[in-house]
């Protein structure tokens, strides 16, 4: 980072002029975290009312297609607490939440916290792996494409990325499944493990990795274009900067000029995007999870909507949005660290 030079281009300036650097820094940190907390409070309130406006009657969903009678429906309604007036339900919800209790799912009759935790690891594994790979691939291809913009390499990589970006995920996933899982018989067609799981730690890890390839491949194919395009355009902006001429004049090789001078500066806008995306990692990718039957959090949420399983929806909303809020706060803070212009002013 030592060779970072201030540039005249557009980095978002988050800090304000303050009396002292340390004090200003602390105020900034507190303000950022405070903002995050306010967002969370709003989400908690919103979650309660939003899911109660949803069409659908959980009691009916839980008795559909089965013998039942009006008394049984009333009993279930009371069990779910749906016979209480709305303000009372809201108070109960806040009280439980304060005690860290997200309630009990209507559908699964299980604590919402357990359900969410059970799905968290598969989700982070899939979307996290896909994120790391697509960021790496996107940044690498993007910087190369920008450096040689207009070349055949640029045109080819950009076009490929955009085509994959525009392809419907469901369709692409099924094609990948038919080619790699069925026709070539290389990978399994569904799930995160072989049915029933595999004995032994190392075989189990391999089994999960084997199942991970196709969903991960599909996700990467669909999303890496955004990193490529951002990296490409921000590097293009740096291309005409004077400091690159200076670097070349020093006699540095073209490759080194790109990697050590241009790319670090162009990376700043990309970091913002990456952090925002990391926040969405937990919400997963419902479509990919659906095609490859991956037991993720996104799918859990989506299926809860059909009931609607209100406690589960409230819980997943809080879990998913806190991830986004936390990563936003982190992005603000990290941005201060990586961009010297924000720090020193």
């Amino acid at each position: 980072m030592t060779d970072l030079l201030p540039s005249t281009t557009t980095a978002t300036d988050l800090a304000e002029p303050t009396k002292g650097r340390a004090q200003g820094g602390l105020a900034f940190v507190l303000r950022t975290i405070g903002g995050g907390l306010i967002s969370m409070a709003l989400i908690v309130v919103l979650g309660f009312f939003m899911f109660r406006v949803l069409p659908g009657d959980p009691v009916r969903a839980m008795t559909r297609d089965r013998p039942g009678n009006p008394e049984q429906l009333a009993r279930l309604r009371a069990e779910f607490g749906l016979d209480q007036p709305l303000p009372q339900q809201f108070l109960d919800y806040l009280g439980d939440l304060a005690r860290g209790d997200l309630g009990t799912s209507y559908k699964y009759s299980q604590p919402v916290t357990d359900l969410i935790l059970g799905r968290l690891w598969p989700t982070v594994l899939l979307t996290g792996t896909a994120l790391v790979i697509s960021v790496a691939l996107g940044l690498w291809l993007g910087s190369r494409a920008a450096w040689r913009h207009g070349s055949a390499f640029d045109r080819f990589t950009t076009a490929t990325a955009l085509v994959l970006w525009s392809v419907p995920t469901f369709w692409l996933g099924l094609i990948v499944l038919m080619v790699f899982a069925v026709a070539l018989d290389l990978f399994p067609t569904a799930g995160m493990t072989s049915p029933g799981g595999v004995d032994g730690f190392f075989p189990a890890v391999l089994d999960v990795a084997h199942h991970l390839v196709l969903p991960c491949l599909t996700m990467v194919a669909v999303v890496y274009a955004q990193y490529l395009m951002v990296m490409r355009s921000s590097l293009l902006e740096e291309m005409t900067a004077d400091y690159l001429t200076t670097a070349r004049a020093k006699g540095l090789r073209e490759d080194l000029v790109r990697r050590r001078h241009a790319v670090p500066n162009a990376l700043l806008p990309t970091i913002t995007i990456i952090f925002l995306q990391v926040g969405f990692v937990v919400s997963g990718a419902v479509t990919v999870e659906t095609v490859f039957s991956w037991p993720g959090l996104g799918l859990l949420t989506y299926q809860a909507l059909a009931v609607p399983d209100i406690p589960l929806l409230q819980g997943t909303l809080i879990a998913l949005s806190s991830a986004v809020v936390i990563m936003n706060v982190a992005a603000d803070l990290v941005y201060r660290l990586v961009d010297p212009r924000v720090r020193t002013r």
Partner: protein, 595 residues
């Protein structure tokens, strides 16, 4: 920093790919020999028999726990844990003789286990969720000795032999009664049961593993186990079947079903199912809960002549042939023909066939005359325009609605369909905010619950149907409930069905078949329900899974997995390539830095 990040990411990617490549060779076969792997698309809500209500979950519970009596392949009540039974002349006291059999842990099954289970559901609110409705009419359940169970009902109860209540072992559950509603029943394996299979593994959202129960009273199943594998969509499940990842897939679309024709390893089963599809007509009757009027149904539908006219305008055969692509049969009754004892077919003079001219005549008679533009105008001067509520969940509903619009247009009735999510559509139906709506139900072997749903008390509840209310029907319902003599009860049920048909409580359109397919190179011998042309999965019994027989010579057990080796080789090549790449880059970087 960027270089470090990038290198880390590449390394990570290489690791994953290497793992993936190697994994092909490390894949284990499912435990315990010939395991029938079934793709399921529905979620498992719970495997606790006191809580589970979803079809897939109750299917697993059927494999784990016996009932007192169970529906046989012919759908009639057969002995299960009860080997015989007798009703006292008062029609209220039933005595069941419990079979000598053992739980899967070797302990004997006694009448006390049955009494324990039933009493939990009757007295413990937490245990009522799944089967509370089934015991509502029970006054007491007692075990007079290890082999004798006495049930006393409040009212005579003809449907008692179809009470589908999984019976749990008291010696396991007695200590858990305070948490009976929140147990997952997957805390310790194997889960002690009495059914053909024993639950030995559960991965939430992924799979359920069951092993053959060696002490099952009918004899150990021929398959060594059953595994339900979660697929989130049937497209992938059909691919899994082709590939051999699974052995049985259910509920495919007609297109998927057709695409499996001609595969020598796959046998398809088009099973007559226990469902019906209907067109509801809003009767606009008062609520069965508080007697108040509700909903905004078109009053024209209160006239039976209008309802009959609409029925005559519908070409059910076209629905079967052109919309359901032949995988269906025309329906007349809310009790499907897979239950021959209770279903109903109208007499030739009673039946309403597709006949637009007759429909027009009926509308004329009811006072809805055709205007100059052919549109029907009512006695109040308003044109006869109806709304149709349809859920988007059933793919064929849009096409069906299009056909309806055309047919009703022919007789001068304007139909406006709206498509909603199934929750929104259901909300409209419960609130009575519709004129016509598509609906459908799965029906159990005993007709009582389905018939009950058409009584006045159900109007404006979450299970209301058309909002039908006819005191004569309600009287007959009570009579059949109390009639323990089956032929007499059949006669009453027939009258009820006939009444529903003549009143046009709704138009029953079709009974759709369930499309299933299995790997006949691995399993055979499935017993369907009904035995002739029925379904393998989704039964009200365990006959399909219990009788699944592994095909003797299996090519695909054990041995090397060529695909895995190929994958390993590819993975290895990629890893080597990446390593070489880093080595070269590393050298170049260091030489750069020396410059």
């Amino acid at each position: 920093m960027s270089r470090g990040l990038r290198r880390l990411a590449c390394l990570f990617a290489a690791m994953v790919m290497a793992l993936a490549g190697g994994a092909g060779t490390a894949l284990a076969q499912p435990p315990g020999g010939a395991v029938l792997r079934v793709a399921v698309t529905q979620e498992i809500d719970s495997l606790n028999p006191f809580v589970a209500v979803f079809l897939t979950s109750t299917q697993v519970n059927r494999l784990m726990y016996e009932y007192l009596t169970t529906a046989g392949p012919d759908n009639s009540a057969q002995p299960a844990l009860a080997e015989s039974w007798q009703a006292a002349p008062d029609k209220l006291t039933w005595t069941f003789r419990i079979r000598e059999a053992n739980w899967s842990d070797g302990k004997p099954i006694t009448a006390k286990d049955v009494a324990f289970t039933y009493n939990q559901i009757m007295t413990n609110d937490a245990a009522k969720e799944a089967n509370g409705g089934a015991v509502e009419n029970y006054a007491s359940v007692t075990a007079t000795d290890d082999r004798t169970l006495v049930i006393v009902t409040k009212q005579p109860m003809a449907s008692i032999l179809n009470s589908e209540i999984p019976i749990v072992p008291e010696h396991i559950w007695a200590s858990q009664v305070d948490r009976i509603g929140t147990l997952t029943n997957t805390e310790t394996f194997p889960v002690v049961g009495s059914g053909p299979y024993v639950l030995t593994g559960y991965q939430e959202g992924q799979s359920v593993t069951l092993q053959a129960n060696d002490s099952y009273w009918r004899g150990r199943p021929k398959a060594d186990g059953v595994q339900l594998v979660k697929y989130e969509n049937t497209d992938a499940a059909v691919q899994g079947l082709r590939k051999g990842d699974i052995d049985l897939v259910r509920d495919t679309t007609p297109a998927q079903f057709d695409s499996l024709a001609g595969d020598p390893n796959i046998t398809r089963n088009e099973g007559r199912n226990r469902r019906f599809t209907e067109l509801l007509m809003n009767w606009s009757n008062p609520s069965g809960v508080d007697g108040k009027p509700f909903g905004d149904g078109n009053p024209a539908l209160k006239d039976v002549r209008v309802r009959r006219a609409l029925h005559h305008a519908i070409d059910v055969n076209a629905v079967v042939e052109r919309i359901k692509q032949g995988h269906s049969e025309p329906g007349y009754s809310i009790i499907p023909p897979v239950y021959p004892d209770w279903t109903f077919t109208p007499a030739p003079g009673q039946r309403r066939d597709f006949d637009p001219e007759k429909a027009k005549a009926l509308l004329d008679e009811a006072g809805y005359r055709a205007g100059p533009d052919g549109k029907r105008v009512g006695p109040d001067g308003k044109p006869l325009a109806l709304r149709l509520v349809s859920s988007t969940d059933v793919a064929t509903n849009r096409q069906l609605a299009d056909f309806m619009v055309g047919w009703f247009n022919q007789i001068g009735v304007t139909l406006t369909p709206t498509f909603k999510s199934s929750n929104q559509a259901d909300d409209d139906m419960s609130a009575g905010n519709f004129d016509l709506a598509f609906s459908g139900w799965s029906v159990n072997p005993d007709p009582d619950p389905m018939l009950h749903q058409q009584t006045c008390s159900y109007n404006a509840t979450a299970q209301s149907d058309s909002g039908y209310c006819n005191p004569e029907y309600d009287r007959l319902y009570a009579a059949q409930q109390a009639e323990l003599d089956k032929p007499k009860r059949q006669e009453i049920v027939k009258q009820m069905n006939s009444l529903l048909y003549d009143d046009v409580h709704a138009v029953v359109l079709t009974h759709d078949r369930l499309l299933e397919a299995y790997r006949s190179d691995r399993f055979t011998g499935f017993v369907t329900q009904p035995a002739e042309g029925g379904v393998i999965t989704g039964q009200t019994g365990y006959w399909g899974y219990y009788n699944a027989t592994p095909v003797a010579t299996q090519a695909n057990t054990g041995g090397g997995n060529p695909a895995g080796i190929i994958a390993a080789v590819i993975g290895g090549v990629i890893v080597l390539g990446l390593v070489a790449f880093f080595v070269v880059r590393g050298r170049r970087s260091s030489s750069d830095e020396r410059e």
